[in-house]
Assembly symmetry: C2
Amino acid sequence: MAIQVNKQFLDKDQVGNMIEWLAAFGRTEHGGVTRLLYSRPWLEAQHALKNKMDQMKLQTHFDSVGNLFGRLPGTDTSEKTILTGSHIDTVVDGGKYDGAYGIIASFVAVLRLFETYGYPKKSIEVVSFCEEEGSRFPLTFWGSRNICGEYTLDRVKDIKDAEGIEFLDAMKFAGFDPHAYTSPVRGDIESFIEIHIEQGMVLEKNQNQVGIVSHIVGQRRYTIRIKGESNHAGTTPMQYRKDAVTAASRLISFLTEKTNEVDSGLVATVGRMQVKPNVPNVVAGEVEFSLDIRHHQESVIDQYCGEIFAEFERVTKNQEMELSISQWMDVKPVQMDVQMGELAQKIAEKKNIRYQPIISGAGHDAQVFGDVCPTTLLFVPSQQGISHSPSEFTSLDDLEVGIDLLTEVLYKLAY
Amino acid sequence: MAIQVNKQFLDKDQVGNMIEWLAAFGRTEHGGVTRLLYSRPWLEAQHALKNKMDQMKLQTHFDSVGNLFGRLPGTDTSEKTILTGSHIDTVVDGGKYDGAYGIIASFVAVLRLFETYGYPKKSIEVVSFCEEEGSRFPLTFWGSRNICGEYTLDRVKDIKDAEGIEFLDAMKFAGFDPHAYTSPVRGDIESFIEIHIEQGMVLEKNQNQVGIVSHIVGQRRYTIRIKGESNHAGTTPMQYRKDAVTAASRLISFLTEKTNEVDSGLVATVGRMQVKPNVPNVVAGEVEFSLDIRHHQESVIDQYCGEIFAEFERVTKNQEMELSISQWMDVKPVQMDVQMGELAQKIAEKKNIRYQPIISGAGHDAQVFGDVCPTTLLFVPSQQGISHSPSEFTSLDDLEVGIDLLTEVLYKLAY
């Protein structure tokens, strides 16, 4: 059973066509994509991908949680497998490129390699992870964490989606009956390589075509609550106020300015604020806000948190207000494999691709693999940095450059 | 038909009893009072007051919008009338003292004056204004503005409450048929005197028993909108952000610190904030916040607004964000009558009442009268400055000191 490469996949325009083809599964009225784990559009997309892989005679299979694999077998059966791909699920009304591009790029790369060089020495597998975004159920990386042995069915047995549908029932609906579950752990992966859109504007601002990720940031998320005293906006002189909005504003100004002092790569975001009672003529008695902190070095996050929280304590104590800081997320930074990064860099130089090292500020399946095997992550530019939106866009030229680099890296690894 | 004073009204404890008696009309489960304009509790309270005034043989009448008057006629019919009182309506779940105390104090003062001195030279009228708070319909001072000729039925013909009930239908329900409307304007008022709880903590902090109001502040209210750019909290470096929360925080810190620089009596409040999209891991693209500014001098408000809005423009322009400032309230400051204030001051000194001049940061019926006749406003302390709440409290001793001063001022004005 020989691999049969349809020549159209060697053509640049076909990459754009495949992006559109996959985006049709779950297309929204705004031109975006909603493809939530185990939903009908998700199921149709995974099966359509499997069919395409089958047509090319890749060896396909689903594991018991719905990760799809398409294998180009290696000639040396004693060798481990090179895994490459990304995730099939999307956020609600997301873009066409996030996840999908990584699957398509890997698929196209493997076909081109076979067309040019025949069978590799080491097997290469294209993977379409079942879940990464955490958009339907309150967990993320369900696909990669199953493969890497971090999650099993136990993790999801009490989890429901927003409509109250149980995770295990949704799995069963999609054809992955939990009673038939067998461990998806893969002990045969030598290395993992993922290509993804940047979802930021760094490459575009720097006019680079590719980013070679050195680290995926660690993330901490907190809820900060300040309790002051609700009062009449007219009859309470400024000096007698315990105004939670004013205090929160000071803390937010401070934490924003502090990022650059501690490290220029540090980002801190207050995206959510809730004011009580939230009435124009009442001094606010309480403010709650979220704080999202990211950096690729744990020590930098530690230092930053130490400094800002000390200031939070000082300011609120000074004003006789109550402060509560509660952490609800702690993801460690992950370093990508240095040798694989250097390999990608050398190839980029040889091919005159404008590249740069880059830190990933978002989470990716590569960070799960980064803990268990040599892993690398490549970025292509996102126009205006827009992502998780129907407006997400990457030019065909940029998509093609990414695939070109990925193809060559896979060649070096597998042939 | 002689005035008949029930001796119990001369007793200090009875003032407390009357406060409780009136608070029973519209009492809430939290021990507060909800007595909205033209509602059943409002109607019962006004009629109960009328009955009490009738029992004492005061000459009572309702005007055509529901203001209640109880007149102690003067002996010199060529003289104008001294008006004293406050409003019967409350906010939702408000306190027992706001408005009610002013009516009860005026009523008790008039009875005590008659008991001691008999008929005055000039008529004194106790007034229970139908509406001041603006809690049911979107307008304020409906009672006093009708008496002062500022409002007529035209003002309310398109106004509805939160349940969609038309103002004119509510009036009719309460027995004030708009078709029977005759102008409530009073051309015979020589002066107006109101006593009220401070609703702030200035008197308490200064351990004073009475405040003699020199001015009622002007108020301006604005909605400030900042439009930046919504972005990914992980992939957008700090220097590329147009973070509306950060910008708003800077403006709020600035406007707060600026108050004291411009004038220590100036107050500025951001009580309401709305963040979009208000998600922890998304840089906020838009923030809208309210701004309430109060001072007793128009020129100070002008200067302050000029300085902060220039800074708002500078900060948002610097960060390439859009700024919109829209004003939706502009109430001018009102000065109380200097001579009446001096009279109150002299009496306070003679009686060894601990008093101070004070600025009213809240609106009161006195500001409506202040534009048309000599008017004075007296404050008694509010425990911890709490108001518009079931916890609103003023001690019986403080209530009594206020009534004592009010009684003597009325004596000087009318006898």
